[in-house]
Symmetry: C2
Subunit: 272 residues, 2 copies
Amino acid sequence: MSLRAFVPGHVTGFFSAHPHEDPTIAGSRGAGLALSDGVRVTVDLADETTILLNDQRGSMAAVKGVLDRLGVTARVEAETPLPVSAGFGVSGASALGTALATNAAMDGGYTENELVTVAHAAEVKAGTGLGDVVGQARGGIPIRLEPGAPPRGQFDGLPARSRVEYVTFGGLDTAAIIGGDTDQLSRAGEKALASLLERPTLDRFMTVSWTFAREAGLVTERVRSTVEDVHQNGGKASMAMLGETVFALDDGLSSAGYDPATCHIANGARIE
Amino acid sequence: MSLRAFVPGHVTGFFSAHPHEDPTIAGSRGAGLALSDGVRVTVDLADETTILLNDQRGSMAAVKGVLDRLGVTARVEAETPLPVSAGFGVSGASALGTALATNAAMDGGYTENELVTVAHAAEVKAGTGLGDVVGQARGGIPIRLEPGAPPRGQFDGLPARSRVEYVTFGGLDTAAIIGGDTDQLSRAGEKALASLLERPTLDRFMTVSWTFAREAGLVTERVRSTVEDVHQNGGKASMAMLGETVFALDDGLSSAGYDPATCHIANGARIE
């Protein structure tokens, strides 16, 4: 029987890295936006594992890790309109969608927290993310107060919704960045989180995210000029962590003359 | 400016009561279903407070409590297709929707956890519920592991979705039941929670909920005969806490010859 789950995309605006040898404890603090452009995952239990992303056979280490942790082999098809390796959490969404749909195909037995933990651990082990899975499970505008999988990971959120536009110029190597020296980045991330909690609004989120991107030293020239174009036009934009991607609220990019993809802030992951 | 929020309905299948003099600590453990039939709340800041439920002027103590705690006066309009005082959390949904929409009308300043805490405390003070607000904020099939508002209240969830049908014969006096002797009820509720966590599926949820309703001594004759009709027809049904209401999965009530309202398991509360 073929079971499906939908997991929203997730752009992180700022974060601090909290590595740990136990991948359920490792994670990040920070904040981001869950997006209606996401990943639809279809799982069929099968004698051997096949993993497809937009009809292309691939490795998807986090997805493989989820199947291994659940002790099954399956055909997994992930489909998404999102650019891959560009800061939208496609890897985390595929892992979480695989966990949810596989549980349904196995006729249950796991709670949501357990499945989020399995997907988060597989994602951390794969080196492809630290906070996307838990943010995608929650939805909305997750503020990651404490790192890690539930119940350790703790959340708040911004009570807001918005249209979101984005353009992508290319990928960044997440594993190299979060596996490298993250001290400067994490100091900037902690400062951004404190500032957001002082004034928890969407405007403040965008402002502290852009300050973070510059302080963390991650801004490329194309990202900088695009964000500045949006700002000069009166809009709000920042950079998706970690990709060469600019996201903006409302019509920030289109009214500055860009041709962005459009989506909106979305609810959390769900079985379909 | 007129701001709106949508909050899902919520039927509790089983619970244990955890009173406390601090209404942010008081709450319940248990589990329920967030429903796509919910309450849409519109808030306009105004010189004096007016509260309307489906165009009728009413008191709605929990809504008044939210406005008082936020220090504002406003015109609040709540609209819902759900029966009132029948176990669907209309009061909690109105309180939470008021908190979310009022924050937006005030141009923010509160996080989601803070607004959920305000609404939960107002609901507990009003005596109209112990766990609806936090369940409605989360959405899905919330399992309330620890009572109270965030960050004290802790959740898990069942990774499932379903169509839900319901019929209502009348109300029950929530304040009288949760304000009275809840020892027998709470013992039954703790047993139900332990059994659900042993096998966290929707089928188990329905089974332990019906056992709970009978052990808690809350089942009326009309509820009993309706649930038994659904069971004899091969369906899954139980009683909404606290109302003279039967809810069933899928087409459980309609295929047993009833004429129920129909909705589905829904995501959590959101600003619109």
